[in-house]
Symmetry: C2
């Protein structure tokens, strides 16, 4: 029997290390698939269609919305971003645990449509460390960094809607903890109804057989 995978949603402050964590998860364990988002924004240099994003035009995106082909979507700065349903469904059916890396509003949309989804929020060990990481990248202006910090304050209000927080201090440890959380989630009664039902039937048969 192939078990359906777990749908995992990962959010977190910019600078919390989500990207690196996802990379580590895929490298270390073989039961994960990372969902690829669809967007109408122009590809940046080095971005690969079907890997970084599925790059589509506005018409295609809106057609996908109309056909209920997206798990969640949003419009930022005039561009659409969304999670195609078909890929996620296929991977879940294959038994893969599918990770969506999306921001808080999208995460809550997913939870509403898929109550069995597991929401994880990646956190830095401290605000100072977050600031240090954002500055350390050396690629952002002071204005952008401040904007991200302000956004983090707003996002912090939503953490209570997540199932778990993931403390990203040491990357290896954080990945191991994320993996073990997902292993635990697999052991809820709802995810093991078939097994429980089988044992129940077997028990009944044995009790009858003994009498």
């Amino acid at each position: 029997m192939k078990r359906r995978g777990v749908l995992i949603v990962v959010s977190g402050f910019s600078g919390a290390g989500k990207g690196t964590l996802m990379k580590k998860m895929l490298e270390t364990y073989d039961n994960y698939a990372l969902s690829v988002s669809m967007t109408t924004r122009t590809p940046r240099e080095g971005e690969v269609d079907g890997k970084s994003y599925f790059f589509v035009d506005k018409e295609t995106f809106e057609k996908t919305i109309a056909e209920d082909g997206l798990i969640e979507y949003a419009n930022y700065c005039g561009n659409y971003y969304g999670t195609p349903k078909a890929y996620v469904e296929m991977k879940l059916e294959e038994g893969k645990d599918v990770i969506l890396e999306i921001e808080v509003q999208g995460a809550l949309q997913v939870k509403e449509r898929f109550p069995e989804a597991v929401l994880m929020f990646v956190m830095p060990p401290s605000a100072k460390e977050l600031y240090r990481r954002l500055v350390g990248r050396g690629t952002e202006t002071q204005e952008v960094i401040e904007g991200r910090m302000k956004r983090a304050v707003e996002e912090a209000e939503w953490i209570k809607h997540y199932e778990y927080i993931l403390l990203n201090d040491d990357l290896e440890e954080c990945a191991a903890q994320m993996h073990s959380m997902i292993q635990s989630v697999r052991m809820t009664p709802e995810r093991n109804e078939e097994f429980i039902e089988t044992i129940k039937e077997e028990l009944k048969a044995l009790v009858k057989g003994e009498n």
Copy 2:
């Protein structure tokens, strides 16, 4: 900051290996405390007061009920069995994760009074294996074994009220999984409100400092 411990309730079919699992948990990890039940039944040979059970008379037990000193209790075959609240509270305050090994009705009483409690149900890999273990003990009559199997059928109906099932095939693995489930449970937002609040305040202070 000392973190309050997690209250864990473990139930499972007779023969599923709860006792051995509890022993393994206490031997392997140092963050657990096993709750000791109070009972009015007569001590069996080898049982130690305060370790196997707190052995008390009927009057003391009923006084403890009246004073709301028990987390849960029940009456079986004319004897009272219950979980004293004071010991559990003390250990949780010390930061220990406290394990109560109790049957299904008691477990649901605990969940009602302590919604934050984590309920785990220990299962054998199959009904046949359960039967084999019960017979293998060599201490029970066929009648007693059949009674336990019938009781298991009834108990199976309640598994859906538990947070997790624990598959006890290999003892080491089962203990490791139980431990990692409890580590995961520690990472819910409700259990980390202080940490989240601190980060939020630090973020706000940094954003202000930057402007």
